[in-house]
């Protein structure tokens, strides 16, 4: 019985991230539009878009290879698994020990690797420009992420997200490195999800796009998979920030259904706040030039390094 409950909780986690991610995208778009005094599309619009794309015929470029056709499913699966490893409403789920924060970062890296390759597959100039820029961003965002992981892991004494959440719940205290890690993680999250000021998710103005340039040749069900994967990635980063820095309400390991319910409510509230903050940040800044992004990400890297260094030094005091 306990095993079935555990399995149900784990399966519920996978289902929750999958069903909530388009909602989060729709919510952020709606808030953004309302803040700009537009009416905006309905919150449920991303679901309709996904369904429409899945039902449509797929148009492939003449020289698209097997890699181009299989990459969307692999990208989606990798992102989905990574998102399911981040505790949302409950910590210490049945398979949560499969991968730690470093593994989650690497899974996202694998998804990006495939996406960048898929962008180069058809051999168009836009695909290449997108892949090339994504590679440049990633080469700074990934070390920044690892440094942030280091500082968080050194505070909690673990790289497992469930343990990190439990330890920040147990002794909640204000730490300089924690603050630095939070700012750094926010910068990485913005860059990784291609939000303003790094990339504009709504643009189709050719020379400014990065993510959209890579997926330009995709259509139909393949595009649906990629859109869903990027929605999952946004959800993943918000849940990660919520889990590390505001773990209030997460059901601890081995908790009953009532704790799960509270956890789910707290999680929804955190997502709403996170989505609102993201939308607010996006409307209050302008997109920056591509070659200023390394400075932006370099700041995150330095913040992470500084936080880690502080922890290394303060350990002996």
């Amino acid at each position: 019985m306990a095993v079935i409950l555990d399995l149900a909780a784990q399966g519920g986690q996978m289902g929750v991230v999958l069903t909530l991610s388009p909602l989060l995208v729709g919510f952020t778009r709606k808030v953004k539009a309302r803040l700009l005094r537009r009416r905006g599309p309905p919150i449920l619009q991303p679901y309709r878009d996904l369904l429409r794309l899945m039902r449509k015929e797929t148009v492939l470029a003449e020289n698209a290879s097997w890699l181009f056709r299989s990459a969307p499913y692999l990208i989606f699966a990798t992102t989905w698994v990574a998102a399911s490893l981040v505790p949302t409403y409950a910590a210490g789920l049945m398979f949560s020990w499969c991968g730690d924060l470093i593994a989650i970062t690497a899974l996202l890296g694998a998804a990006r690797f495939l996406l960048a390759l898929a962008g180069m597959d058809v051999g168009t100039s836009f695909g290449g420009i997108g892949s090339s820029r994504e590679t440049m961003f990633a080469s700074l965002a990934e070390p920044a992420m690892i440094m942030i992981v280091f500082s968080v892991a050194l505070i909690a004494g673990s790289t497992q997200l469930s343990e990190i959440a439990a330890s920040s719940l147990a002794h909640y205290q204000l730490r300089v490195s924690f603050g630095l890690a939070l700012i750094g993680l926010a910068i990485v999250a913005i860059a990784e999800n291609g939000r303003i000021p790094v990339d504009n998710p709504a643009t189709h103005l050719e020379l400014t796009m990065v993510h959209e340039a890579m997926v330009l040749e995709y259509s139909g069900r393949h595009l649906a998979m990629i859109e869903l994967a990027s929605a999952l990635k946004l959800l993943l980063y918000l849940s990660m920030i919520a889990c590390i820095f505001v773990p209030l309400g997460i059901a601890p390991a081995g908790a009953g259904p009532r704790a799960f319910l509270y956890g789910a409510l707290a999680y929804l509230a955190k997502l709403a706040v996170g989505g609102f903050l993201l939308a607010f940040f996006e409307i209050s800044t302008a997109k920056m030039r591509v070659f200023r992004v390394p400075d932006f990400l370099g700041a995150a890297l330095m913040l992470g390094l500084l936080g880690t260094l502080l922890l290394f030094v303060s350990r002996s005091l």
Binding site: M54, R55, K56, T58, V59, L60, A61, E62, N63, S65, L67, Y73, L74, F76, A77, W80, V81, W97, C98, G99, I102, A103, A106, L107, A116, L117, M120, G123, T124, S125, F126, G127, S131, S132, T135, A138, S139, L140, E142, P143, I146, M147, F150, L154, G157, S158, T159, Q160, L216, E217, R221, A224, M225, F291, L301, L305, T308, L309, R315, S316
Partner: protein
């Protein structure tokens, strides 16, 4: 010379005698420096790396694979044998030169790989990067060992050996693949390849796996060893020395940077050579390589995948070596349920490559099934969209050098003095405008150019001695004899 110093106290070159001998601290330090010089130049540690990317690609591809995959590991083995085994108890600062050199080598190597367009040269530079990673792990192991922390030392040492093993696997596949490409097209320059995935689909599949493995991405083996190194770094705040405390986080950042750049480098290499449209007729007319080469590559790649999803067996295999060299071992991984790996304790960190791989495979399969059954399964082929302006010429694709341009611009000015120069004709002139890139290796200019200058100068001076009279030669011999006798007299 390191051997001479090692043996001098015991007067015997056998391993046992050296191990038993006592040495002063400065002598051990000198041995370390000399070993680092000797093994480092063989393995390709910066700044002694410059011969490697010139020598390795010159050999036939299977020999290059042997050189990169095995020969550099021999140097690593020699280094480990001398420093960890023969030299006795290490001092804490021994780890610092290893960590610093390893980190610099890793980042330099991969940045140079990022801008190469010769496929085999790129792989040789990536070998340098991996040697840097191995030396980082060895430096950590040495630092832990010096402080008597057996468990972390075993973790770092296992990571080093694991990475050495992994590198010999995936680098062999990559060099074999480069050889297959060269045989099929006669080209090593990725700027003249492209679209090989259509004509060599099987080679393309195997090399995709190897590229993912070398980029340290799950579920392959490269990720496991880098993950172990990161875990070792996370244990290092408990090191007591300040110099180590300040070095290790920076080294960690550089390791992460090199891992991220590796992924970018192999996206670029694979994307330009195998994806897109053919940039030359030779690339368009290529044929799939023979079955024997393919099966060799596939077998090695299978080993990569196995080492990635079942790392616990490999870690247990390495643990006797770790006990021999650093006096500790990681917890036995065999008894851990679900075949996952746990370096220290389950509450600290664990990773299960098998389950992650299975989950990804199952959810990808499910997603594809569900969409094909419930959604649409129709496919139509059409011309590429490219925002409405597709151009039939393959020259309009992104090239390898344009792909590397953002990284070159963001990071290149510090490392290699990269300079773009534009040659713009004056109005009315009919010659085309050209954009050139000039890249220089600082190690070559700063170290080797003065060195070769000094050697040239000495040779010039000595050249004069070739034209002496017979009396001159005899008096030279006499002077040398007197000098040597004097030295002997003073020494006694």
């Amino acid at each position: 010379m390191a051997y001479g110093l090692l043996a001098s106290s015991a007067g015997d070159y056998s391993f046992d005698a050296i191990r038993a001998g006592e040495r002063e601290a400065w002598k051990s330090g000198l041995v370390l420096a000399l070993t680092l010089l000797g093994a480092g130049s063989k393995a390709g540690l910066a700044p002694l790396h410059i011969w490697l990317p010139l020598a390795h690609p010159a050999a036939p591809s299977h020999v290059s694979a042997l050189m990169s995959g095995v020969m550099t590991k021999v140097a690593v083995y020699g280094f480990v044998r001398i420093v960890f085994d023969l030299l006795g108890a290490p001092a804490f600062w021994w780890g610092i030169p290893l960590l610093a050199l390893g980190a610099v080598t890793a980042v330099l190597g991969i940045l140079f790989a990022m801008i190469q367009s010769d496929l085999k040269k790129l792989l040789a530079y990536s070998t340098i990067e991996n040697i840097g990673v191995i030396f980082i792990a060895l430096g950590l192991a040495l630092a832990f060992k010096a402080n008597g922390m057996a468990l972390p030392a075993a973790l770092a040492f296992t990571a080093a050996l694991f990475h050495a093993f992994n590198h010999s696997l995936f680098k062999s596949v990559l060099f074999f693949g480069a050889g297959a490409v060269q045989t099929a097209t006669g080209e090593r320059d990725i700027e003249r390849l492209g679209g090989l995935i259509h004509v060599m689909p099987r080679t393309a599949f195997v090399l995709l796996g190897a590229s993912i493995a070398i980029s340290a991405l799950p579920p392959f083996n490269g990720f496991v060893s880098e993950w172990l190194i990161f875990q070792a770094i996370l244990l290092s705040p408990s090191l007591p020395q300040w110099s180590l405390k300040l070095t290790v986080p920076a080294v960690g950042a550089m390791l992460a940077l090199s891992a991220a750049l590796t992924a970018g480098c192999f996206v670029r290499a694979y994307g330009t050579a195998f994806l897109g449209r053919a940039r030359s007729e030779a690339a368009a007319a290529a044929r799939e390589t023979d079955k024997l080469s393919l099966s060799t590559m596939a077998a090695l790649l299978t080993l990569c995948l196995l080492a990635g999803v079942l790392p616990s067996f490999l870690i247990d295999t390495i643990s006797p070596a770790a006990r021999l060299f650093v006096g500790g071992r990681m917890p036995a991984q065999e008894e851990i349920p679900w075949l996952s790996i746990v370096p220290i304790a389950e509450s600290r960190s664990s990773y299960n490559g098998l389950l992650v791989c299975l989950f990804v495979a199952i959810s990808a399969f499910l997603a594809a099934r569900v969409i094909h059954v419930l959604g649409s399964r129709n496919t139509r082929r059409g011309p590429a969209w490219d925002c409405g302006y597709p151009d039939p010429s393959p020259a309009t694709q992104y090239t390898a050098s344009s792909f590397a341009q953002p990284v070159r611009r963001a990071l290149g000015n510090i490392v290699f003095v990269a300079r773009d120069h534009l040659d713009m004709p004056t109005p009315g002139d009919t010659r085309p405008a050209r954009l050139g890139v000039e890249i220089r290796d600082r190690a070559f200019e700063g170290l080797y150019a003065p060195l070769s200058g000094a050697v040239d100068f000495c040779a010039d001076q000595l050249n004069k001695a070739h034209f002496l009279t017979i009396q001159g030669y005899l008096s030279l011999v006499f002077a040398a004899l007197v000098l040597l006798l004097l030295v002997v007299a003073i020494w006694q």
